[in-house]
């Protein structure tokens, strides 16, 4: 029992030291957005940053429809904090995801416009993600969208 206590006493500080190792700041920002087309099964792949996922759940949420999935195009960009911003033509919302172990989980659904986007584009800016659609321009953060 004594031995166990001694062992724990030695290991515990080490574990504390490991878990407290933080690299900061990290800039996850992609310089430009990417435009990805889904395959028949709904998967998109971003080759430069090596990420692939299925967009069916987003389409279900946005349109409640997954027909003609192979003709769907989404636009994706990652901000400096590491959140993924996803939208597309016909969307009214921008979906903000955070990366987790083997999944992307929805951090926020930004209701940007009451009308569907026609040609939305993301641009990486110093402090935020810029969303443009025709003449309209929006400033996006992890949890907020504001028109300019």
């Amino acid at each position: 029992m004594k031995k166990l206590v001694l062992f724990a006493a030695l290991i515990f500080p080490l574990l504390i030291a490991c878990s407290s190792l933080v690299l900061s700041p990290v800039n996850y920002a992609w310089p430009v957005e990417n435009v990805l087309r889904a395959d028949n099964n709904g998967f998109v792949e971003e080759k430069r940053h090596s990420i692939s996922f299925n967009i069916k759940p987003i389409l279900v949420t946005e349109f409640n429809d997954t027909t003609n999935i192979e003709s769907r195009e989404i636009r994706i960009i990652r901000n400096s904090s590491g959140f993924y911003f996803i939208t597309g033509s016909g969307f009214k919302n921008v979906y903000v995801f955070e990366s987790e172990d083997g999944e992307l989980s929805l951090k926020d659904k930004l209701a940007v416009s009451e009308t569907a986007f026609q040609n939305p584009v993301f641009n990486q800016k110093e402090s935020h993600i810029e969303l443009r659609d025709s003449e309209k321009k929006y400033v996006l953060t992890n949890n907020d969208a504001a028109g300019e």
């Binding site: 310089p31 430009v32 957005e33 990417n34 435009v35 430069r48 636009r75 584009v121 993301f122 641009n123 990486q124 443009r132």
Partner: protein, 412 residues
């Protein structure tokens, strides 16, 4: 011209793009636009057809750089694994290489033009010479003036053909001068460049024309024994050169059926040249016999020649045994003194043996039959001559003896 139009379109597009870029909403589109233009100019560099196009492309690169300069930071981040400057360094580097290609091609073209001109001059002169020789050859009555001009024209034609041969060798040497690696291996780009040079030099046509000229020359000229060595030497030198060149060309044109067939055609022409050369030489040998009304069975090579001559001799030997000795004797002396000893054995045989057209064994078989024939002819003569001399000696002895006896009888 089509290319220049494309270039004008690019200039226009760049202008529109420059205007668009000012109002561009998407960084992504801007990067894509940059990449598309980069690829377009890269393709145009690869397919540029002249130095002028290269110079125009140089302006396009400058214009493109200028129009995207303000987005350098974004492009530096987005053009992974390259960046803004590296992209333009790449394009300029490619353009420089292409320019050098054209400078080299221009230089090569100038050389080719000079060579083509020299080939054309010789070809024209040869056609005219062949025509004139043909006219003189057809002339039934040849006076000394005709013969002299015929000889002069033939000598001129021979000199021209030799000059053309040297040009071909020069061309072949220049083609493969930079490719001396053993075994001969070329990458696809080198193969393409070499094929282009072959086309520029019109090598296939010139090879065919040279062989045709040689064949034509053989057909119209009268060959003398001393010409044979030169002709064989020319043929051997040429075919050796072609074997080296042809092998390399076959490698280059491995997948091009038409070119491979052209190489095969030239190989066949070489075979025709060799056959014509041999036939013409044997015809010249036979002419020595025909001039003395000695008709031999046809022959086209050394073995056939030896068989033909020995058959003739055997026939004559048989004929002498049967009858008509006088005729055989006359044939024998004509054959040996006027043809074999003075022309064939003395002039032709050494050259034929030297050029592997006749073996020493073939010659020995003829000489051995001639010895038999000689023994037969000289043997008969000897018998008659000996009898005559014997009779004369006997008469002499009888006369001397009778004189001696008469003297002794008168003394006693």
């Amino acid at each position: 011209m089509k290319k220049l139009k494309t270039l004008s379109h690019i200039t226009l597009l760049l202008f529109i793009a420059a205007v668009n870029l000012t109002y561009s909403q998407s960084d992504y589109n801007l990067v894509q636009d940059f990449k598309a233009r980069y690829n377009e100019i890269e393709d145009l560099i690869k397919t540029a057809e002249s130095l002028d196009e290269c110079l125009q492309l140089s302006n396009e690169i400058t214009a493109m750089r200028y129009s995207f300069e303000e987005h350098k930071t974004l492009l530096d981040k987005s053009l992974y694994p390259m960046d803004f400057n590296a992209s333009f360094t790449n394009l300029s580097g490619m353009l420089e290489i292409r320019k050098r290609d054209f400078l080299h091609i221009t230089q090569l073209q100038a050389e080719v033009d000079t060579l083509k001109e020299r080939f054309a001059v010789l070809d024209k002169a040869n056609i005219s010479l062949i025509e004139r020789i043909n006219i003189l050859e057809k002339d039934q009555i040849k006076n000394s003036k005709t013969i002299a001009s015929l000889q002069q024209l033939t000598a001129q034609l021979k000199a021209n053909i030799k000059q053309r041969d040297m040009l071909i060798v020069e061309v072949a040497d220049s083609l493969f001068a930079g490719h001396v690696n053993h075994p001969f291996t070329l990458n696809d780009a080198e193969k393409m460049s070499l094929a282009q040079k072959v086309q520029y030099h019109n090598l296939f046509y010139n090879m065919e024309k040279t062989i045709d000229d040689h064949i034509q020359f053989l057909k119209i000229s009268t060959i003398k024994p001393q010409d044979v060595a030169d002709m064989k030497k020319e043929y051997n030198g040429f075919i050796m050169m072609w074997e080296k060149v042809g092998e390399k060309l076959a490698d280059i044109y491995l997948v091009k059926k038409e070119k491979a067939e052209r190489i095969e055609k030239i190989n066949n022409k070489f075979a025709e040249w060799d056959t014509t050369l041999n036939n013409v030489m044997w015809a010249a040998v036979n002419k020595s016999f025909e001039e003395k009304n000695i008709s031999l069975p046809e022959y086209n090579n050394g073995e056939e020649f030896a068989n033909s001559v020995t058959d003739f001799i055997n026939h004559q030997i048989e004929k002498a045994n049967a009858a008509d000795v006088e005729e055989v004797e006359e044939t024998y002396y004509t054959f040996t003194d006027s043809v074999w000893n003075s022309k064939i054995e003395k002039e032709w045989v050494p050259i034929l043996i030297e050029n592997n057209m006749l073996t020493k064994a073939d010659k020995d078989s003829i000489v051995s039959r001639l010895t038999v024939w000689k023994a037969q002819i000289i043997g008969d003569e000897f018998e008659w001559w000996v009898y005559a001399v014997g009779v004369l000696i006997l008469i002499g002895i009888v006369m001397v003896s009778s004189n001696i006896f008469r003297k002794r009888a008168s003394e006693s």
